[in-house]
């Protein structure tokens, strides 16, 4: 098929944008931890790029988007032909615009890879400050393989959920419910941080968190508007709705805060924006601007309360992966059952309660998606987590946790800002570069 250079240009840009979201997430999360664990938090995101990329090239693309020629088996898993991505070179993939043009298959693969990466990275927010790094590396491989790749296949690769007619434009369930449920499971497997919730664990650098939101918001345009895999009016609608729901949800969250706590906070604004991004993700291409606004109002307010649940229920979902991604993602997916208007252009297929003839059926389907994926992901993450915990151990020592995971696990500290003689007198001046000998010996 003929390559549409315009569509491809957009998908190249979109791929880069979505890839940037993971460093963005590293800063969003990193700013919320304490100064002694920011590096570990960021490393959990960065290493997800490493591990998921490797898994993707080796078999991830094949499992998620390959075909295996067996229509029953194909309901649950892709194929093997795409292993190593070799077969994608010089092949093309039709755009989503229905005009018989294509983009190079490797661009599609790259775009999808970035989704897999950030989904895995999102989970890490639930287990801040206390996770063995090696265990996390193992978990990312296992969960991507056993959960993300199949689930992506179910919804986007022609699997059973898509065959049922479930709609998820850019990943409300595949990405956010999926990651949120896994985060919840790991929060249980790892248990509470020492001192939680009695000890205060407030964000150490809200500038980083805002930077993260800025990059996430920016990248999310690629995430959502790129999911059309092409350039047309749907791309445009997805883009605009993303902006609307995000801005409105940020506003909604801080209005709730102002009324409830007396202050509109920076972290609330940032959290609201992310909640809006999450909720609009499945719906962005299917609903009207006013509906995006409505969704923004609802998700901003709901999530502003949902993040308090963990105190009530007593699980230490440290950075609110559940309250924002699981709740927000489910809400967005569900909203389609009511508000979807453009699900499949020109037909009632996939339309919601307000527009479709089979509205209740779609609403049911839209509820089934989060439930099925959420349950699957929760159970699998719990099992994987438990196995890791029983074998190599999933949690660092209590003393390391108190002293700070950055130094214990990565042998680094994030900041050395003291002005005296530049570079932290208290630290640097008392430091001995003990290792040159060692380095030399080994080099």
């Amino acid at each position: 098929m003929k390559i549409d250079t315009g569509a491809t240009a957009w998908m190249l840009a979109a791929s880069a944008l979505v890839l940037l979201m993971t460093p963005g997430l590293a800063f969003f999360y990193g700013g919320m931890t304490r100064a002694k664990s920011v590096l570990n938090m960021m490393m959990m995101s960065f290493v997800s790029i490493v591990t998921v990329t490797i898994a993707w090239v080796l078999y991830g693309h094949a499992f998620a988007f390959g075909t295996n020629g067996n229509s029953t088996l194909n309901k649950v898993i892709g194929g093997v032909k795409e292993i190593g991505l070799q077969s994608l070179i010089n092949s093309t993939q039709p755009t989503g615009t229905g005009d018989k043009t294509a983009i190079p298959s490797l661009v599609f693969s790259m775009f999808q890879l970035t989704f897999a990466i950030i989904t895995v990275a999102l989970i890490s927010g639930a287990i801040a400050d206390r996770t063995k790094f090696g265990a996390w590396v193992v978990f990312t491989f296992a969960w991507a393989t056993l959960v993300y790749f199949p689930v992506a296949h179910w919804v986007w690769g022609g699997g059973w959920l898509s065959q049922l007619g479930i709609e998820d434009f850019a990943g409300g369930t595949v990405v956010h419910v999926n990651a949120g449920a896994a985060g919840l499971a790991l929060a249980f497997v790892l248990g509470k941080r020492k001192g939680w919730p009695k000890e205060p664990m407030r964000p150490h650098n809200l500038g980083y968190t805002l930077l993260g939101v800025g990059l996430l918001w920016f990248g999310w345009f690629g995430f959502n508007a790129g999911s059309e895999v092409g350039v047309d009016g749907t791309t445009a609608l997805a883009f605009m709705n993303t902006q609307i729901a995000t801005a409105v949800a940020a506003g909604s969250w801080i209005v709730v805060e102002k009324l409830r706590d007396g202050h509109a906070t920076t972290l609330g604004c940032a959290s609201g924006a992310v909640a809006g991004l999450v909720a609009i993700t499945p719906a962005c291409a299917f609903i009207d601007p006013w509906a995006a606004m409505l969704l923004g109002v609802v998700v901003g307010a709901v999530c502003a309360y949902a993040v308090g649940l963990k105190y009530k229920l007593g699980f230490d979902d440290s950075l609110d992966v559940v309250g924002v991604h699981l709740v927000g993602g489910a809400l967005g997916a569900l909203s389609l059952g009511i508000l979807a208007r453009y699900a499949t252009a020109g037909t009632a297929q996939g339309q919601g309660l307000l527009y479709g003839h089979h509205g209740f059926k779609q609403l049911g389907l839209q509820a089934l998606g989060p439930v099925a994926i959420g349950l699957y992901s929760f159970c699998m993450a719990w099992v994987i987590g438990k196995i890791i915990d029983k074998t190599i151990g999933f949690r660092i020592e209590e003393e390391e946790e108190v002293a700070g995971i950055d130094i214990a696990v990565h042998a680094e500290s994030a900041y050395d800002l003291a002005p005296s003689h530049g570079g932290g007198a208290l630290a640097a001046a008392s430091v001995a570069a003990a290792s040159q000998a060692k380095v030399e010996a080994e080099a």
């Binding site: 108190v402 130094i407 500290s413 630290a427 008392s430 430091v431 003990a434 290792s435």
Partner: protein, 112 residues
């Protein structure tokens, strides 16, 4: 009047504050410090080069008290700050000649 200075582990500050409040001490002044002693620091690694950081983060707490209370307060602080592990810190006291409350100019016990 005495000035009691305590160098403690940072995460013990809350306990020390609570214990002092129970005892009846109403104020104190804290500053960040770093300690060097039996307790070892840690090692950091940057591009394969190892750095030994042998100073350990501590807090330095200063409490002005009446002569009569000094021993008791020292006791309270020592108990509250104790973990029994190396690096728990030191407490010492120094005689003070005058204390003045800046706001009012009150001196001596009134100033506390």
């Amino acid at each position: 009047m005495k000035l009691i200075t305590a160098v403690i582990k940072p995460f013990k500050l809350d306990d020390v504050k609570a214990a002092l409040e129970t005892f009846g001490v109403k104020g104190l002044t804290v500053s960040e410090a770093s300690g060097y002693g039996r307790q070892k620091g840690h090692t950091e690694v940057y591009r394969g080069a190892e750095y030994k950081v042998d100073l350990v983060p501590k807090l330095r707490v200063e409490i002005l008290v009446d002569d009569d209370d000094a021993d008791d307060v020292i006791d309270v602080v020592v108990k509250a700050a104790q973990t029994g592990k190396i690096g728990d810190g030191k407490v010492w006291s120094v005689p003070v000649e005058t204390v003045i409350r800046v706001r009012t100019g009150e001196t001596g016990a009134e100033a506390l």
